[in-house]
C-alpha cells in the first residue's frame, strides 16, 4: 500500500480545489523534513506511533468481510498525517494535519466519510503504546502493539465496530522496511500486518449486520516527492484461497508509456519476496461510469513468475470515495488461476 497513499497526497492537489492548494505543497519538495535512510532498523512499539519529522504518514486498514448469509462487505479505516512543517508543537500552533477516511461497501451500496483535524490539541493523533489512532469519534485502539485492534467509525448512513486479531508477524516491506519507490531512489519506511481475523458489526440504513473476515493494515511514512509525470495509480491487495497474498501496484505515467509497477509476494507460510520492477502486470478489461467518469472495474492481473493469471472484479463498481480528494476504493473478487478476495484502489481517473 506504499505508493497509493503517497500519491493520494499528491492527487489532493488536483482533486479538491478548496483544500488541494493547501496540500499541494506536500508532494513537491522535502525541505526541512527527514528522509528515510537505508539500514535504519525499525523498532516497535515506538514506530507504531507518529513520526512528525516526516512529511506524510498513514495507518491504513482494509477488510473483506462476510455476513452469516454470505453477503459480502468491504471496510476501510484510514488515518493520514500531513505536516506543514517538521516537528510537533503543543496547541493550535502544531503544524500537523490529520485526515480520516472511512468506507463501507456492499454489492449494492457504498458509503464513505471523511474527518479533518489539526494536531496539537488532541482532536486527532496516534500514540504508540498503548496503541491508539483517532480522529474525532473514530478510533483504532490496540492492546498489545498491533496484535489486537478495536476499530470504529461512522458517517452518514453507516457505521462499524470491529475487532481485529493478528495471526502472524509484521511484514517489513522492501529492505527491512526501507521501501524504494522509484528508479530515482525515492523511498519510504513501510511495514504491514496482512493477516487479521476480523469480527464485528457493520450498520447500514437497513440495520446492523454481524460480520467476520480478513483484514490488512499498512503503516508507512516518508517525506519524499513522487515523480511529477505520473497521473495516478492502481493498487491491488489480493488474498488467495491458497493462503498466498499478493500486493502489487502500477503507477500510470501521464504519457502512458513508462508505467512503473512493483509489489510483494507473501507466501502462505509467511515468506516475503519483493517483486522486481515490471514483474507485476495489470490490464483493464472492463470500464464503468462512476461519478461521471470512466473507471476500470475489471482487470486482468498477471504475475508470470508465480503462475498467477487472474481476473480481478469489483464487488461494487460504484465504490467511489466521495471525500474532498475523491478516489475509487473497494473490495474485489478474484477468479482464474487463483481464486480469492482483496481490495483495489484506483486514483487519478479524471
Amino acid at each position: 500500500m506504499s505508493v497509493r497513499s503517497l500519491l493520494l497526497c499528491c492527487i489532493l492537489g488536483c482533486a479538491a480545489p478548496a483544500f488541494g492548494q493547501g496540500f499541494a505543497g506536500l508532494g513537491t519538495t522535502a525541505d526541512g523534513f527527514a528522509t528515510p535512510q537505508l539500514g535504519q532498523v525499525l523498532s516497535f512499539p515506538q514506530d507504531h506511533g507518529p513520526h512528525p519529522d516526516f512529511r506524510i504518514e498513514w495507518w491504513y486498514l482494509t477488510a473483506n468481510l462476510e455476513a452469516a448469509d454470505g453477503t459480502e462487505y468491504g471496510v476501510q479505516w484510514t488515518l493520514f498525517r500531513s505536516a506543514l512543517a517538521p516537528g510537533e508543537a503543543e496547541g493550535w500552533s502544531s503544524p500537523q494535519i490529520w485526515m480520516g477516511h472511512a468506507g463501507l461497501t456492499s454489492e449494492t451500496q457504498h458509503f464513505s466519510a471523511e474527518r479533518l483535524a489539526r494536531g496539537g490539541i488532541g482532536q486527532a493523533g496516534v500514540t504508540a503504546a498503548p496503541f491508539e489512532a483517532w480522529i474525532d469519534d473514530w478510533s483504532m485502539r490496540g492492546d498489545r502493539g498491533l496484535q489486537q485492534l478495536a476499530l470504529s467509525a461512522q458517517g452518514d448512513g453507516f457505521s462499524y465496530q470491529l475487532v481485529a486479531k493478528a495471526e502472524g508477524d509484521l511484514v517489513l516491506q522492501g529492505q527491512n522496511g526501507y521501501s524504494v519507490k522509484s528508479p530515482d531512489g525515492q523511498a519510504s519506511y513501510y511495514y504491514s500486518q496482512p493477516e487479521y481475523r476480523i469480527k464485528g458489526t457493520v450498520t447500514l440504513p437497513s440495520g446492523p449486520v454481524a460480520v467476520s473476515g480478513d483484514g490488512w493494515l499498512d503503516r508507512e511514512w516518508s517525506s519524499q516527492p513522487l515523480s511529477e509525470d505520473q497521473s495516478g495509480w492502481d493498487w491491488f491487495s489480493l488474498r488467495f484461497d491458497t493462503g498466498d497474498k499478493l500486493m502489487g501496484f502500477v503507477l500510470r505515467s501521464k504519457d502512458g508509456v513508462e508505467d512503473f509497477s512493483s509489489g510483494t509476494w507473501i507466501s502462505a507460510t509467511g515468506e516475503v519476496t519483493p517483486l522486481r520492477s515490471g514483474a507485476f502486470l495489470a490490464q483493464p478489461i472492463a470500464q464503468a461510469e462512476v461519478a461521471g467518469r470512466e473507471v476500470p472495474i475489471k482487470w486482468e492481473v498477471r504475475l508470470p513468475g508465480r503462475d498467477v493469471f487472474v481476473v480481478v472484479e469489483a464487488l461494487n463498481p460504484q465504490s467511489w470515495m466521495d471525500v474532498a480528494f475523491a478516489y475509487w476504493e473497494g473490495p474485489v473478487t478474484v477468479s482464474g488461476s487463483h481464486t480469492g478476495k482483496g481490495y483495489l484502489e484506483m486514483t487519478g481517473y479524471e
Binding site: 478548496a18 493547501g22 506543514l84 496547541g91 500552533s93 494535519i97 479533518l116 483535524a117 469519534d137
Partner: protein, 811 residues
C-alpha cells in the same frame, strides 16, 4: 391651447431668471442634502447588512460558554463524542497599524473559508489555504482594510501575509485559529463552537454538554452593530430632514412670489377663456418640470456631498461603535428614488398654499398683501397651541418611554413645537415693541416689521431651527471634546509607552527599566468571553499614577487599597450602564476573579466593556496574560534619551515607543475627524437657512412698495428707508437668534443626557460656550444683513416714479 398657456406661464420665468435660479437652487439644495444623508445611511446600512449576513452564514447555530470560559479541551472533548463542530476564536487585535476585529477559524473543519479563490495578494500567488495554515499565517481582509497593512504585517514572530477578499467585511480579518490565538494571546480559550449540522439536538445529545456550555441563539452570539449605530443614522436623517425643511422654506417663498406676481397674468388668461382647472393643471405641470430639473441637479450635488461625507462618517462609526463602513459610495435606487420623491413632495407642499389661495380668491379682485397677511396672523395663536401640544407630547414620550426612541420623539416635538411657536412669540414681541415705541417713525418700524412677519415667518423658523441645531450640536461636540481631552490627561499619565516584541523581552525590559530607577506600569490584560460579549480585564500595579489620575466617576473609599488587595474590581461606565451595575454589585465572572464592583470609571470611545483588578489577581487567573506593554514614569525631558537607549539596547522599533503627547494628539485628531461630518452639516444647514431669509426678503420686496410709497411720500428719504429695512431685518434675525438660544441649550441637554447616554453608553457633562453662541448670533445677524442688503440697495436706488406709481396703480 395648453401650449400657448404654458409658454405664457414660462415666459414669466424668462423675465425673472433670479427667481427661477433661487427656486431651482433652493429645491436642489434641499434635495441634495436629503439625498446625501440618505446615500450615506444607505451605504452604512448596506455595510452592516453585509457584515451581519457574513457573520450569520459563518455562524449558524453555535455553542457558547456561560459561567466559565470555553476551552480548547471542551472542544476536543465534544469532537471526540462525535459532535460536528468548528471552533471560532474572536477578539480585538491591538497592533501598531489599526486595531482590528479578528475571527479565527479552523479551515479544516469550517464550512466557510471566505474568498476561496481570492485575487492574488501583493505577496504573490501563494495558495489561500497554505497561506492561512502555514506558519506564521495569513490574514484575509477586505481590500480597504488591507490598504492600511500594505503587503503584510510583521507580527514579531514572522511576516503575516495579507489576502484580499471582498467577501470579508471591512474592519475584520479572518485568520487561521492558530494565528488568532497568538495575536489575541489566548492559547486555551475559544469564543464559540459552530454547529456544522442542522439537525435538532435531542436530550441525549444535550446532556453531553458540560455545565458551562450551552446552545446559543444567534442574537446572543453577536452584538448587532445595527442597533448601536441606529441613533447615529437617526441623527443624520434628522439633519437631512432639517435641511430639507429649511430648503422648502426657500421654495415656498419663491413659489408664493411667482404666484403673487403672475396674478395679473392668471386673470388675463382666465378672461381669455382658459378654464380654471386647466390653468391649475398647467401650473402643476410647470412646477413638476421645475421639481424634476431641481431634483436631478440636487441628486448630482447630493452624490458629491455624500462622497465627501462618507470617510468622516465611517471614521465616526468606527471610532464610536467599532462598526465599519466601506468608503466607496455605490448608487442605490432607494436614495435616488427618495430624493426624487422628496423633491416632488416638497414642491407640492410648498406650492399647496399658493394653489389654495389662487383657488379661493376671486379672480377679478386683487386684495392687498396686507389683508392676507393679517388673515394669516390670526392663525399664529393656533400654531402656537399646536406647538405647545407637540412639546408636551415630546416631553411625555421622554418621561414615559425614555430610551433612544423617547429621546428622539422629544427632540422632534421640541424642534417642531418651538418652530411653530416662533411666529406667535415674534408677533407678541413686535407688538410689545410697537406699544413701547415713541414717535411715528419708530412705531411704523415695529408695525411694518409685524406686517412683514407673515412673509418672513417661514424663513425665520428655518433660521431658528438652524441656529438651535448649531448651538445644540456645537455644545455637545465641544463638551465632548473638553471632557475627552481632560479624560485623556488623566488616563494617559505615563510619559512613555513601550511595546516589547514578546513576553521574554517584556520581562527583560521591565527589569532593566526598574534597574534604571524608572517606575514601570505593566499594561497587562486578559479577554474573557462572556455571554454578553467579550470583557477585557486589566491588571494594574498599585501605583500613585492610578491613585492620583484615574478618571473615576464614583468609587468606594480607599478604593485603590482594596483593589491592591484583590478585593474587587473597577468597571468602565459602558459596562456598568449596559449591565445595570452599581457600586457594591457583583459582576458574574468565572471562579477566581474578584467580582465586587468598587468603582466605576469613564472609558470614552470604547464600544466594549472593560474592568480593572490588581495585577496579582490577573496573573492568578490568567498567568499567560501577555507582558509586552508598559507605561513608564520619568521626567519628560529624559524621554528622548530613554527612547534612544531602548532602541539600541533592546532593538526596539521606533513605532513601539510612543510618547504620551503623541498618543494624545493622535487621539484628538481621530476625535476631530469624527465630528467633521457634524461640522459640515451644521454649516450647510446654516447656509441654507441664510439663503431662505434672503429669498424671503427678495420676494417680499416687490410686495412692500405699497407700504413704502406712503412713508416716502410723507418725507422719509429712500436712504433712511433702506437703512430701516436693514435694521428691521437685523431686528428680526436678532429676535429669532435670542429665541433659538434656549432651544439650542435644551437640544444639547437632550443630546448629551438622553441620546448620548443611550447610544454610546456614557454620559457627558455639559459645558457652556457663550462665545460660540455669540459667534453664531453674529453670524446670523451677518446673514440677515447680507440678505437685506440687495433689497435695501434696490430701495436706495429706486426711482421716485416707482414709488409714485403706488398711488396710481390699483394695488
Amino acid at each position: 391651447m395648453s401650449r400657448t398657456v404654458l409658454s405664457a406661464l414660462f415666459s414669466y420665468w424668462r423675465r425673472h431668471l433670479f427667481q427661477l435660479g433661487a427656486l431651482i437652487i433652493g429645491l436642489a439644495l434641499a434635495t441634495a442634502l436629503w439625498a446625501a444623508v440618505q446615500a450615506v445611511n444607505a451605504q452604512a446600512r448596506a455595510s452592516y447588512a453585509k457584515a451581519e449576513s457574513y457573520l450569520a452564514q459563518a455562524e449558524q447555530r453555535s455553542l457558547s460558554a456561560t459561567t466559565a470560559p470555553m476551552r480548547v479541551a471542551d472542544y476536543v472533548r465534544l469532537k471526540r463524542l462525535g459532535w460536528k463542530l468548528s471552533p471560532v476564536l474572536q477578539g480585538r487585535w491591538r497592533n501598531s497599524i489599526q486595531n482590528l476585529d479578528i475571527i479565527g477559524i479552523d479551515p479544516l473543519t469550517s464550512l466557510q473559508v471566505p474568498g476561496q479563490t481570492p485575487p492574488s495578494s501583493a505577496g504573490g500567488e501563494t495558495p489561500l489555504l497554505l497561506a492561512l495554515l502555514q506558519p506564521p499565517g495569513g490574514m484575509i481582509m477586505h481590500p480597504e482594510t488591507a490598504g492600511m497593512f500594505g503587503s503584510g504585517y510583521d507580527a514579531g514572530f514572522g511576516h503575516l501575509q495579507i489576502i484580499r477578499s471582498e467577501a470579508v467585511p471591512v474592519g475584520l480579518a479572518v485568520v487561521d485559529i492558530s494565528l488568532a490565538s497568538r495575536l489575541l494571546g489566548s492559547a486555551e480559550q475559544l469564543t464559540r463552537l459552530v454547529l456544522l449540522e442542522d439537525v435538532p439536538l435531542d436530550r441525549e445529545k444535550l446532556v453531553q454538554l458540560p455545565a458551562h456550555i450551552q446552545l446559543a441563539s444567534m442574537a446572543e452570539a453577536q452584538v448587532d452593530p445595527g442597533s448601536l449605530t441606529e441613533s447615529f443614522h437617526l441623527n443624520l436623517t434628522a439633519f437631512g430632514f432639517l435641511s430639507f425643511a429649511v430648503g422648502l422654506f426657500i421654495v415656498q417663498g419663491m413659489i408664493t412670489l411667482a404666484m403673487e406676481q403672475r396674478r395679473n397674468m392668471f386673470r388675463t388668461l382666465r378672461c381669455l377663456g382658459v378654464p380654471f382647472v386647466s390653468l391649475l393643471g398647467l401650473l402643476a405641470v410647470e412646477m413638476g418640470v421645475i421639481a424634476f430639473i431641481s431634483a436631478s441637479i440636487g441628486l448630482i450635488i447630493g452624490h458629491f456631498i455624500a462622497i465627501a461625507l462618507l470617510p468622516g462618517v465611517s471614521i465616526t462609526l468606527a471610532s464610536l461603535y467599532g462598526a465599519q463602513v466601506e468608503h466607496g459610495l455605490s448608487l442605490r435606487a432607494n436614495w435616488i428614488l427618495s430624493g426624487l420623491a422628496m423633491s416632488f413632495l416638497g414642491t407640492a407642499l410648498a406650492s399647496a398654499q399658493s394653489f389654495y389661495s389662487l383657488w379661493k380668491l376671486p379672480i377679478l379682485l386683487a386684495p392687498s398683501t396686507q389683508a392676507r397677511g393679517q388673515q394669516l396672523a390670526g392663525r399664529y395663536g393656533a400654531w402656537a397651541l399646536a406647538g405647545l401640544a407637540l412639546l408636551a407630547a415630546g416631553s411625555i414620550a421622554l418621561m414615559t418611554y425614555g430610551g433612544l426612541l423617547g429621546g428622539f420623539v422629544f427632540l422632534g416635538g421640541l424642534m417642531l413645537g418651538a418652530a411653530l411657536m416662533l411666529p406667535f412669540c415674534l408677533w407678541q414681541v413686535l407688538h410689545l415693541g410697537q406699544s413701547l415705541a415713541r414717535g411715528a417713525l419708530a412705531q411704523w418700524l415695529w408695525a411694518d416689521a409685524r406686517a412683514q412677519l407673515p412673509g418672513l415667518s417661514l424663513a425665520l423658523m428655518a433660521l431658528m431651527l438652524a441656529l438651535a441645531t448649531n448651538i445644540g450640536v456645537g455644545t455637545m461636540v465641544s463638551s465632548f471634546r473638553l471632557t475627552f481631552s481632560d479624560w485623556m490627561d488623566q488616563r494617559l499619565s505615563a510619559e512613555l509607552y513601550v511595546t516589547a516584541q514578546d513576553d521574554d523581552q517584556g520581562a527583560a525590559l521591565q527589569i532593566w527599566l526598574e534597574g534604571q530607577g524608572h517606575r514601570v506600569l505593566p499594561i497587562r490584560s486578559h479577554e474573557l468571553q462572556r455571554q454578553s460579549g467579550p470583557l477585557r480585564i486589566y491588571g494594574v500595579r498599585d501605583d500613585a499614577t492610578y491613585r492620583e489620575n484615574w478618571p473615576m466617576l464614583e468609587a468606594r473609599d480607599a478604593v485603590w487599597d482594596k483593589i491592591a488587595m484583590g478585593a474587587g474590581l473597577l468597571v468602565s461606565e459602558q459596562l456598568a450602564r449596559r449591565e445595570n451595575l452599581r457600586l457594591g454589585d457583583h459582576l458574574p465572572l468565572p471562579d477566581g476573579w474578584p467580582g465586587e464592583i468598587l468603582g466605576i470609571y469613564s472609558d470614552y470611545g470604547n464600544p466594549q466593556g472593560q474592568a480593572i483588578t490588581s495585577l496579582a489577581k490577573l496573573l492568578d487567573n490568567a498567568p499567560g496574560a501577555p507582558n509586552r506593554r508598559f507605561g513608564i514614569r520619568l521626567p519628560v525631558e529624559e524621554v528622548p534619551d530613554l527612547i534612544n537607549v531602548l532602541m539600541q539596547e533592546f532593538d526596539l522599533k521606533r513605532e513601539n515607543l510612543v510618547q504620551q503627547s503623541l498618543v494624545k494628539s493622535r487621539s484628538m485628531a481621530v476625535f476631530n475627524q469624527t465630528f467633521l461630518v457634524t461640522d459640515a452639516l451644521k454649516l450647510l444647514t446654516l447656509g441654507v437657512a441664510s439663503f431662505a431669509i434672503f429669498t424671503s426678503l427678495v420676494s417680499l420686496w416687490s410686495q412692500r412698495l405699497p407700504q413704502l410709497g406712503p412713508v416716502w411720500a410723507m418725507g422719509v428719504s429712500r436712504r433712511v428707508l433702506a437703512l430701516l429695512d436693514i435694521l428691521r431685518s437685523l431686528l428680526m434675525a436678532a429676535l429669532t437668534a435670542l429665541l433659538a438660544l434656549p432651544l439650542g441649550l435644551i437640544l444639547s441637554w437632550a443630546l448629551l443626557d438622553v441620546i448620548n447616554t443611550e447610544a454610546f453608553g456614557w454620559r457627558l457633562p455639559m459645558y457652556m460656550f457663550p462665545f460660540d453662541w455669540l459667534r453664531l448670533v453674529l453670524l446670523s445677524l451677518l446673514a440677515a444683513f447680507v440678505a437685506a442688503l440687495i433689497p435695501a440697495w434696490h430701495l436706495f436706488r429706486l426711482h421716485p416714479h416707482e414709488l409714485l406709481k403706488v398711488f396710481s396703480s390699483e394695488r
